[in-house]
Structure formats: structure tokens, C-alpha cells
Symmetry: C2
């Protein structure tokens, strides 16, 4: 057993607790943000939290129409030339709330008069003190070095806030389905184990997705790197065609995450093109055509898990089989402690 | 011979022409932008042009203090929910000026009342017509599929504009040195050929940099992928420590691009840590300590090339040995036409 497996499995319960207990913090934050009507949202984060910020960017721009920027902490921390953020909402995301560079950007933004919000798993951490507003992840302690439940609860915190700000009934109703959807996603372990078997001897792998689930490709690639030491490289389906497509050969397998919605036609075309070039495409999808295109290789159907979940809320569910894939690949490829990847510690202090 | 080599070699002359001929377009754009005083700059680009946008983000934020967002074309093109950009300057970057998704974001932004600027190598292309303002790259035709001189001239166009807007004497003086600096960078071919020899049999490689030259790591990785089919993965030095550091082993070499300035101490620490883990670190740097740390492996000193060039203008020079590295690696690893990588065409039409 490992903390990693426990923490992946806890996600349905953790989502339910977060939905149940976060109401007041989310309402307070939404009220203050609506009063200020920021012209820009800036996310500040590192690692898995930065992948959560990528999801936040798609959700904020499509649901609220407010442009989103992603802060480069070095511009404040190293070059000491922070941009003007007085009219912005600046959102720091960090499980531990300890990362000095993320805290530094929040401190500076608050001094400038920006509205600041922390999304963190630790209400007593420096990030929570630095920000005016706080939404706690309420995920309980995470003991595995690799973030799993604290990544997905960051997505859910962002979705709760955007749903409250936009008063969007589709998001509000969909949020209530996430605990059950996460339970259904955990049932994909058998299918995912077959993908892990197929990938076990591969040193490298492409991760492809687009739109909301581009964040899923980023996070899945990070999990495969840190847990299974697979050189997994993530691409948006569109960016992939601008250069990296030269890498597509039968020696380099791909995992494609595709969810029904506006990105489906482009991803189907990409999948067919890769398969035509001899690439083995493992598909994680609720879309019959995408699953049919990749039927020659082990894949996992997200149809049950995503039933009733709008595309905009699919990322915290679609990553769950990806976490299990990383777990299985790590178990096959490594003999050591799954909770302690080489070269990493739980809190990374960069500046 | 190849167009690729010719186009890399042309860069000193192309920089000189651009500096000489772009004055009026740059002044017109700077005047209009200063009048509007945008609260946000949004870059829209794909592939190498998106790496130029990454440079633009660092330069605009540090020099002008205006926050920068990078548009996800799918939010306008596929989800049809573009964010509100009326107060923004929206900059589309595309060598060909043909990419429908980039043009679509500019069209929409202009309808919303945003000020729009095209940076393109083709003044007759749809992107140039879509935008109110134009800065031409004046690079002449690029026949190789891999962008070289059209990447660096995009950087120079951005720097010319920011220098004019900020009336920054360091940038203005430094720009005049770029043609000579590019000539000196071309003299690194011998050193780079030794790095290519060392990397010739490696299927994968890490690319590390930080700050302004994070764009250099991104672009160098893209060149190695599309030209040499090397699975090269770029990281900011800080992001690398948040997860991907687990990949660091003696089997995976690294190329580290480090330029004197505020990022140097962190990069030196990273280099020493990687070397301690057994990683072969090939260093492209003008910094004696970074070069000394990596002295056990072939490296290239940028000291002559970057003499008198401020860090903020180093990216169009630091990528030149990277382009030569990709050329040499491609020649060693491929027998086919260097100007035509598999699976790619010069204009990629994504939506």
C-alpha cells in the first residue's frame, strides 16, 4: 500500500466535503470580487498548481469573459519589476501555501492595491496570510510527494468560485455530480492497468488534449514524469501540429484525452492522423468516435464517469484515471517507495 | 547545403536590415499604443511565434509594467467565448500571417474595440489586414520549414517596439549591437558541433533556462524536436524543481542556457545539483561560474557574442548556437532533406 493510492481513492469523499464545507468562503470571495469587478485575473502557481491555473484560465475566460494572465514569479522575485496589477484579481494557488515566490507575487500585488485570493490546503500558511481572501482546499493532509487530491480540489475550488460569480446553473448542478463521477472514474482501474501494461517498457510518451482538458494533459504528463520516470510530453492538439508533429512515429506512443464538446472534431482528426503515421494512441474519452478510432490499443471509456458532467467540469474527473495510470506505471517501473520520488520533496522552495 | 543553414547564416544581415528599415512602422505603432495606454497586452501565436510571445511577455512586463496574457485561440475559435479585450493591445505574431486561429482572435479583438498589432513577415497576409497596426519582420522568404531567422526577427520586432515605448536607452543602444552579436554567435559552430557529437545518440534531452531565456529553452527544444527528432523537453529552472526533477539521471543529458543577470545564482545551483545527480550538463553561457560548473562536458561560451548586449536582448543571440546545434544534430541523425521534416508543412492551419 501507499499514501498515493489512498489519496487517489479519497477523492470522492474529499470532493463531497469540499462542496459541503466551502460555501461561506466561496460566497465571501465571490461577493468581494463582484464588487471590485476586476478587468484581469492573474494566476500565480508552480507545478501541479500551475496546471490547475491553466484550467482556471479556460474556465474564467469562457464563463466570465475576463482575460487571464499567468504570472511569471521571476519577474517579481528576480527582476524586481512586477507589472501593474491594481485592477486585477490575483489568485495564488499552492497546496502547502509555502512557496516563497508565489507568496512574493501576492504580497506585491496586495501592496499595489490588487484584490488577492489564496487557494491553499493550509489556512495557516504564509500564502493564506498574504492574501485578503481564502478558499481552503479541505483535502486533509497529503503525504505522498506527488499531488493528486490536492490538484483536483484546486480545480474544484476554482469551479466553485466561477460558478458563484457567474451564477451558472450548468456549473452549479454539475458540481454536485463530481463526487459520484470521481467514484465512477476510480472504477476505470482495470482498463488503466492494461494501458500501463502496454506502456511499461516505453521511455517516452506523448500526452495530447485540447481546451479545458489541456490542463489534464499537463498534469498527466507531470505525474508520469515524477512517479513513473516516463519522459511524457504534453501538447495541446493544435500546438502539436506546429512543429512537434515531426516526433510522431511508431516508436513513440500517445495518450489522448478527449471529451465531447467543441474540441472533439480536431482531436478526432489528430488521432486519425497519428494512427495513420503508426502511432499507438491510447484514448481516455467519453466520445464514441474517439474510442472507436483508437480501438486497436488499450483505452479507457470515460462515458460513465462523465455522464451528466459538463465539459467545463470534466478535468477533475478525467485526471483520475491518469493518476491511476501513473500509479500502475510507477509500480511496474520502480521498486522503491512510490510516495517518495527521487530528487523531490513535498514543499519546493523556489524564488 | 540547405536553406536551413543559409537562413541561420543570414541573421546578422537580416537584423541589420530590420533595424534600418523598420523605424516608421515601429514609431507609428508606439505612438498609437502610447495614446491608448492599454491596461493589458495579449499575445496570440502558435509554434515558434508563441516562443517569441513568451519573450515578449518578459520584456513587456519588466520594461513597461503592463501585465501580459497569452490568448488560447481555442477560447475564441472553438468555444466562441472570447474574453473582453476592449482595453487591451492584442498582438498577433505569425511569420506567414496565415494561421486562421490567430487571425480569428485578432478579428474578434478588433470588433471589440481593442488596439491590434500584427508582427508578420508578409505585409499582404490575412493577419496584417486583420490588424490596425503592422510591424513587418523584413526577413525575406524563409524556405526551410523550421523557423530560424523569422523567430529571431520576431524577437527583434518586439524589442524595437518596447524600446520605443519605454524610451529605454539600454535597449536602444543594445539593439544596435545585435547584428555584430549574431555574427559572433555564428562563430560558435565548432563548439556546438562538439555538443552535437556528445548528444548524437541520445533520444531525449532536457533544456533548462530561466527568465528572458526561458523563451530560448522553449525554442531550442522545438528546433531539436522538429529538425533532429530529439525528444527535448524545455523547463524554466524553477518549474523543473516542482516535479520533473525526478527525471534527472545520468541517462538524460541537459542543455542549460544561462546568461549573466538575476537568474544566474539559481541556474548555478540547479546546474550543480544536476551534475551531482550524474547529469551531463552542456552549458551555453556567458557566465564564468556556469561554464566552470559544466566544464567536464562540451559547452559553448557566449561571452564574445553577448559582450555589450543587455540580458533583455540576449534571447535573439543565445538561440543562434541552438539553431546550429539542431542543424548539426539533424545532419548526424537524419539522412533526408533538412528543409523538410516529416509530418510538417511551412504553414500550419489550425483552428
Amino acid at each position: 500500500m501507499s499514501y498515493l493510492r489512498d489519496e487517489i481513492s479519497e477523492q470522492p469523499a474529499v470532493f463531497a466535503r469540499l462542496l459541503h464545507e466551502s460555501g461561506e468562503q466561496v460566497r465571501t470571495a465571490a461577493r468581494r470580487i463582484a464588487d471590485r469587478a476586476p478587468s484581469l485575473v492573474v494566476f500565480v502557481a508552480r507545478g501541479s498548481s500551475d496546471n490547475a491555473a491553466t484550467y482556471g484560465r479556460y474556465l474564467v475566460e469562457t464563463s466570465l469573459g475576463v482575460p487571464v494572465s499567468s504570472a511569471a514569479p521571476s519577474i517579481t522575485g528576480l527582476y524586481r519589476r512586477p507589472p501593474r496589477l491594481a485592477d486585477a484579481l490575483v489568485v495564488g494557488i499552492s497546496q502547502s501555501g509555502q512557496s516563497p515566490d508565489v507568496v512574493g507575487v501576492l504580497d506585491d500585488a496586495r501592496r499595489q492595491g490588487a484584490l488577492t485570493l489564496a487557494i491553499s490546503n493550509d489556512a495557516a500558511a504564509p500564502l493564506a496570510s498574504a492574501a485578503e481572501l481564502l478558499i481552503e482546499q479541505r483535502s486533509g493532509p497529503e503525504r505522498s510527494v506527488a499531488a493528486t487530491k490536492t490538484y483536483t480540489t484546486q480545480l474544484v475550488c476554482i469551479a466553485l468560485l466561477v460558478a458563484a460569480l457567474g451564477q451558472d446553473p450548468v456549473l452549479i448542478e454539475g458540481l454536485g455530480r463530481l463526487p459520484a463521477a470521481a467514484r465512477a472514474a476510480l472504477c476505470l482501474e482495470g482498463a488503466v492497468a492494461r494501458i500501463a501494461h502496454a506502456l511499461a517498457d516505453q521511455p517516452a510518451c506523448l500526452m495530447l488534449a485540447r481546451g479545458f482538458n489541456y490542463a489534464t494533459a499537463l498534469e498527466l504528463a507531470l505525474k508520469l514524469k515524477e512517479l513513473a520516470y516516463v519522459f511524457a510530453e504534453p501538447y495541446s492538439g493544435a500546438d502539436f501540429l506546429h512543429g512537434p508533429a515531426a516526433l510522431a512515429t511508431r516508436e513513440l506512443p500517445a495518450v489522448l484525452v478527449g471529451v465531447e464538446g467543441p474540441t472533439q472534431p480536431g482531436l478526432l482528426e489528430l488521432s486519425q492522423r497519428l494512427i495513420g503515421a503508426g502511432v499507438r494512441v491510447h484514448t481516455l474519452s467519453d466520445d464514441p468516435a474517439l474510442l472507436e478510432a483508437g480501438r486497436a490499443w488499450p483505452s479507457a471509456s470515460l462515458a460513465d464517469a462523465l455522464a451528466g458532467v459538463p465539459e467545463a467540469l470534466s478535468p477533475p474527473i478525467a485526471i483520475v484515471p491518469g493518476q491511476l495510470l501513473a500509479l500502475h506505471l510507477a509500480a511496474r517501473r520502480r521498486g522503491d517507495d512510490l510516495d517518495q520520488p527521487r530528487g523531490l520533496s513535498k514543499v519546493t522552495r523556489t524564488s
